[in-house]
């Protein structure tokens, strides 16, 4: 009587492709973002000749490099049951710190300083949330104000501009196989995050912590450490994003990034089917989410549609994504 599904290794295959019972739900989470993305992509290819030029595609990736990095780590924060509203401000702080340092010191030192500043923000977020136990929403919201203020203090409100030939410029703009280094770095960083989530004990603990914190703790998961790690990674991703964009644009100001970036990232991750309730999510689907939103923007520009409508469309898509997620959760219970 004990048929425990041990035969022929079928469960392995299922687990590997991420399809777990209930299958319709799993596949919905994947197809829910993939199908609209492909449809939009094909539609843009057909409608706009400039869109499907290789340069345009590379350009989209290049422009989205920082957002992709931040969204990848953001997904981990959500999976572990948290949220990080300070990523935009941290991004701004990192680019400002990097810019200030690059003007007077070596590029390497500038990058280290920028990353360190961002990681410290993530560490503080994590410590306040896990030790002081203030809700993540409030902690990171408050932190975003503080960090923005510090960034503004650093620059005295001025725009930082770097010389185009400096060493810092090389970070994002070396080319390999036609792709700029910013894209390669992003690809590497995001792959590490995805593997971390899917293939390591740490990733499994993130899922457990976000899915049922008490159960995870009693099963021996050091929940606080795991949560702390997600905020540190989120800070690091914001720092990396800030450095990449500083190198790409050679300018920085305290207000760059900000809430607009935070909410774009949040929207992208949620559109990618990662639940804000925690315990469920994916890095690569978040990447599709970022690109999906980027394509909408790119498409509106190429097709010459008023960007006013872009905001409306984005809002509608976000509601649809969250609405479907809630509906499936409701159906499950």
């Amino acid at each position: 009587m004990t048929t425990t599904a041990t035969n022929d290794g079928a469960p392995v295959l299922e687990a590997r492709s991420g399809i777990r019972f209930p299958a319709f739900l799993r596949s919905w989470r994947t197809t829910g973002i993939l199908i609209p993305f492909v449809v939009l992509f094909v539609a843009l290819c057909l409608k706009s000749a400039p869109f499907h030029s290789v340069n345009n595609i590379i350009n989209i990736f290049n422009q989205q490099a920082s957002t992709l990095c931040i969204a990848g780590a953001f997904a981990l924060v959500l999976v572990a049951g948290g949220i990080d509203l300070s990523v935009g401000a941290t991004y701004g702080l990192a680019s400002v710190v990097g810019g200030e340092m690059a003007m007077h010191h070596s590029a390497g030192l500038a990058i280290v300083a920028a990353m360190l500043a961002a990681i410290v923000v993530g560490l503080l977020n994590g410590l306040i949330i896990t030790v002081v136990k203030i809700s993540p929403l409030i902690t990171t919201l408050a932190m975003s104000f503080v960090v923005s203020g510090i960034a503004l203090r650093c620059t005295q409100g001025n725009l930082i501009a770097l010389p185009p030939q400096g060493a810092f410029y090389l970070l994002s703009n070396m080319h390999f196989l036609r792709l700029p280094s910013a894209v390669w770095i992003t690809f590497g960083f995001v792959t590490v995050l995805a593997l971390l989530l899917n293939r390591t004990t740490i990733g499994r603990y993130m899922v457990a912590a976000g899915g049922n914190m008490e159960a995870a703790r009693l099963a021996g998961v050091r929940v606080n450490g795991i949560k702390l790690l997600t905020y540190v990674l989120s800070g690091a991703a914001a720092g990396l994003g800030g450095c990449l964009d500083l190198s790409r644009l050679l300018s920085a100001q305290a207000s760059s990034g900000g809430n607009a970036l935070t909410f774009t990232v949040l929207a992208a991750v949620v559109v990618g089917g990662t639940s804000i309730a925690g315990g469920e999510g994916s890095v690569w689907r978040s990447m599709i989410g970022v690109l999906f939103i980027a394509l909408i923007g790119n498409g509106f520009i190429l097709l010459g549609i008023n960007s006013l409508y872009q905001q409306i469309v984005l809002g509608a898509i976000l509601l649809l994504a969250v609405g479907l997620d809630s509906w499936f959760r409701y159906r499950q219970n």
Binding site: T4, G9, A15, R20, P22, V207, N212
Partner: protein, 507 residues
């Protein structure tokens, strides 16, 4: 029809005829007919997955049957939503209580049916309604007490009063006594008898056969979605009911006790610990021993075992596991040292309900199934497959999510998780709560087998019978202290109850 349809005057019978329900091709209920009569307690029994909750939900309008019809008071009844059912006087008191902890007793009872004009609540009118209800039910809960501060039994009273306030003529109670202590169960039984006497038809879904035999007028047995028998209680015996539920003769409910040799080494030595809710408690467990911890709900049983698992700060004393003191307050360190803990509530404290059997079972063992935190999927699968087969989880695939499994299988996953770590000491808090008869026996067999392999086992249970059937030695707690330590012939119901109530009048 009854014009003056106040509480309890159920006008007639509720009849479900030929009801069937499928979930994605899997039959949950096949052609079941049932008749509920006012003033009678009708019990639904069966193993988990037998369809008793499905039938309860159909009666309550929570789910619609695929085929079959319902009639109530001689008229056809179509229930599209639970609201329809409530309007028809059918109310469910679910296993998981649905009170709002932050509202008061009165606010909970009248939630959604406040006496109000333009949303302004008439306090005095509601107070009057409350007093009438309280008199009717015979409870004396203070209406302004915040529900979160009440015990489970008191919350149940709130639910009963809410049902009465909705002029219920049919009340469905799903496992009402599952989370109650012995004395609270007595109170609940009084309530059920009182409700029936006042003319309400009660549907009692319960795992406790003694309770069913004590309370019911009629017992319906379900198995695999089909009706096996409906019989008046006079014709039922515990033995016959179990046979009907299982479809085969039941061997003894508990495996034979195999006492540990008297020279077996001490694996757990808890020395005079004090922790929140626990005062100066000691406990020694030898290899191969099963020690039961009895006591009323709130006696500090759960707090004690959680302190042993080092999930609580100790203000005094120490916990020594096989010669090593568990110094750190850290479940993960305790697990590494060799203590395993199965918490009392698998939904809230045990499982990741949305994740697969595999994710759930492997969770505590992952450090051993990985290298530099990289999980070896092959080793993980092999380990989970082996352990899941050992504990006897029945599932279509290891990828199935925990939510889709029966209570018995869910509990077995927790056993798989803990046993995978090969602990020296296994602590289970309510190991068979909400588990069907067949799985219960399987869990008992497992515990006995593990004890024979030399594991020290601590079982906390509200079911006296379970303690008596399993434990070699029993420790009884009250008010956070150990009031008795019983061994050998001293382990009996009387002794445990006396110690559990201690200074209370002879129970």
């Amino acid at each position: 029809m009854n014009i003056d349809a106040h509480v309890g005057t159920a006008g007639g019978d509720f009849v479900a005829t030929g009801v069937s329900k499928h979930y994605g091709g899997v039959p949950a209920l096949t052609n079941v007919s049932i008749r509920l009569e006012p003033g009678k307690v009708h019990a639904l029994i069966g193993e988990n997955g037998a369809g008793k909750s499905t039938l309860g939900k159909i009666i309550a309008g929570v789910i619609a049957p695929d085929t079959g019809s319902l009639t109530f008071r001689g008229e056809p009844l179509v229930l599209r939503t639970p609201r329809d059912a409530i309007a028809a006087g059918i109310v469910t008191i679910a296993q998981e209580l649905t009170v709002v902890p932050s509202l008061t007793v009165a606010e909970n009872i009248f939630l959604g049916s406040e006496t109000a004009t333009a949303s302004v609540v008439h306090r005095s009118a509601m107070r009057q309604r409350y007093d009438e209800l309280a008199a009717l039910a015979g409870f004396n809960l203070h209406p302004d007490t915040v529900v979160g501060a009440l015990s489970t039994a008191e919350k149940q009273k709130v639910e009963v009063m809410r049902a009465l306030s909705r002029k219920a003529s049919i009340i469905i109670m799903d496992e009402p006594s599952a989370s109650l202590s012995t004395s609270e169960v007595g109170v609940l039984h009084g309530i059920i008898r009182h409700l029936a006497a006042s003319g309400v038809a009660i549907v009692l879904i319960s795992h406790f056969l003694q309770e069913v035999l004590d309370l019911s007028d009629t017992i319906t047995t379900l198995r695999d979605g089909s009706l096996i028998s409906t019989a008046p209680v006079q014709e039922c015996t515990e033995h016959g009911l179990i046979e009907g539920m299982l479809g085969r003769a039941q061997t003894a409910a508990y495996p034979e006790k195999v006492l540990a040799p008297s020279d077996a080494p001490l694996v757990l030595d808890v020395q005079h610990i004090s922790a929140p809710g626990v005062q100066d408690c000691s406990l020694q467990v030898r290899a191969g021993e099963i020690v039961g911890i009895a006591g009323l709900v709130g006696s500090g049983r759960s707090e004690f075992v959680r302190a042993i698992f080092r999930d609580a700060p100790l203000s005094a004393g120490r916990v020594v596991l096989d010669g090593t003191e568990l110094k750190k307050r850290s479940p993960s360190a305790s697990i590494r040292e060799g203590v395993a803990f199965i918490p009392e509530s698998r939904k809230e404290m045990g499982l990741l309900m949305g994740r697969s059997i595999r994710d759930n079972a492997a969770l505590s063992r992952l450090p051993w199934l990985s290298r530099w935190s990289w999980i070896s999927r092959k080793r993980e699968l092999a380990a989970v497959t082996e352990q899941v087969a050992k504990v006897g989880v029945k599932a279509a695939s290891l990828a199935q999510s925990a939510r889709m499994l029966s209570g018995g299988n869910q509990q077995k996953i927790l056993f798989a998780r803990t046993l995978m770590c090969a602990p020296k000491v296994l602590i289970c808090d309510e190991p068979t709560r909400g588990v069907d008869v067949g799985s219960k026996r399987a869990i008992y067999d497992l515990l006995v087998a593990k004890a024979q392999e030399g594991m020290g086992i601590v079982v906390v249970s509200s079911e006296l019978e379970e303690i008596l059937g399993l434990a070699h030695r029993v420790v009884v707690m009250r008010h956070g202290q150990i009031t008795a330590s019983l061994e050998g012939d001293n382990v009996n119901e009387q002794a445990i109850l006396v110690a559990a109530f201690a200074d209370a009048p002879a129970a």
